[in-house]
């Protein structure tokens, strides 16, 4: 028996999936969720083998929800937005159903799921997500709560093994993600990788001082000092237009 979870904020859209699933006796719908928050809880509770996931949902979108899930189930995206397809496959989604989709198309997606079940491709899932739209916030888990942090509130991001530590004025949050991912996605938001371990929001930089041989230190508006490497200094100057 395969456990299936449906996450979509439109009840009728969920009904379509449930109806198409009816003939499959070995697929059991263990739950339905209205949004990503419910989705995260339900995934923890039911440990589904497969989720159908809408992308545009209230508060956090489907991609952001997946980022916060630890044991990621296999995913079939269902959305009216064509432009996310490439990104979804980057995430090793099993399939990407464009609404509205018919039974034939749906059956193909299920077939794909079964094939992938045997070849166990699951582990490579979600190495990095590149959102098609410009990133404007980061979603993190804060204990049991989910926090949405606008980029403007972030001062810097620090590497911490498999995680990164995201610092705001007075708080910090851990997120399982690579520095390279944030460096790439936050470049256009004026974040500079000033050091192997630091990514700085250049909007918060107030001063740059020389420090030891070849190095520099940046002072942020919250008083924090961040080391700057030689190559980091070049990037920083470039971004600040110096």
């Amino acid at each position: 028996m395969m456990k299936v979870l449906i996450i979509d904020d439109e009840p009728l859209a969920r009904n379509v999936i449930k109806e198409y699933l009816k003939p499959y006796k070995d697929l059991e719908v263990v739950g339905e969720c209205n949004d990503g928050f419910e989705g995260i809880k339900a995934i923890q509770e039911f440990q589904p083998d497969l989720i159908f996931l809408d992308i545009q949902m209230p508060r956090i979108n489907g991609f952001e929800m997946l980022e916060l899930v630890e044991n990621k189930p296999r995913v079939i995206f269902t959305t009216a937005y064509e432009e996310y397809a490439i990104k979804a496959f980057d995430l090793h989604a099993i399939d990407y159903l464009l609404k509205p989709f018919d039974k034939n198309r749906f059956d193909k997606a299920i077939e794909k799921t079964r094939q992938q079940q045997s070849s166990a491709e699951k582990e490579t899932f979600l190495q990095s997500i590149h959102l098609p739209a410009q990133m404007h916030r980061i979603v993190v888990k804060d204990g049991n709560k989910i926090r949405i942090i606008p980029l403007s509130q972030i001062f810097y991001i620090e590497a911490a093994d498999d995680y990164v530590k995201i610092f705001t004025q007075s708080e910090s949050f851990l997120k399982k993600q690579t520095m390279a991912y944030f460096e790439e996605n936050l470049q256009q938001n004026q974040f500079a990788r000033v050091h192997r371990s630091y990514l700085v929001n250049t909007q918060t930089v107030t001063r740059i001082d020389p420090y030891e041989k070849d190095g520099h230190l940046v002072l942020l508006t919250n008083g924090k000092k961040i080391p700057v490497s030689k190559s980091g200094y070049k990037k920083l100057k470039e971004m600040l237009g110096l």
Binding site: D9, L12, N15, E19, Y81, P150
Partner: protein
Amino acid sequence: MRFLLWQIFKSDEGYLHMLKISSPLRFSIAFLLIGSMAMMSMAWYSEKEKSQLENRKKEAEKMFREAELRTLRNQLQPHFLFNALNSISALIISEPENARSMIQQLSDFLRGSMHKDDTQLNTLKEEIDYLQLYLNIEKVRFGHRLETKIIVEDETLLSLKIPNLLLQPLMENAIKFGLYDTLDKVCISLQAAIKGNILEISITNPFDPETALPLKGTGFGLSSVRKRLALIYGRHDLLTTHISDQNFTTLLSLPQ
């Protein structure tokens, strides 16, 4: 010519003498005359060409403006259409009657958005009716989560004229913001009132100032409406946005 004059005035020595010494003067007068005539005709032609060019330019500008209005108006969000079709797909088996009524409303809505003169003014009533078609479709999609209120201060306002298809993109924007920014039920309200000779229409949706998308762009809907207003009224201040507590309001001020 000169020879002819010599022959005619052979006897008049004085005239012949005058003819002889005045030739440079006469030549220069003739030259000036011809020169100025040429100048005048050149000026006249270039003026004519200029006015033609101007006309052509005006024509082109007008066409451009019309085309721009048309594209601005036609930018119906395709996702809306696809999601609506998906809802119909869901209803077809379980509630065929509702599926059919949704198809009807969607058709009426689409017809309303096509083949319209861009500068055409409609009554507020017509525009609200059109908006209602859109809202009915969205309510089927989002179920009980979406609630809408339309308050027109005074019945007489319904006969006032406004540019067509202006309210729907604003409403779409409000729904997108309202619904995607909270998990709860959302109430979107539209209020119409008159202030002097300005018809004020405000659309309000709840939002979370902390986490909402950066408000600079505020989506495609607002900027296209703003551009349309500028093209129709030649003013840039007819659409404003206001934030108070947890509410986001778009205010449309239409001179009557």
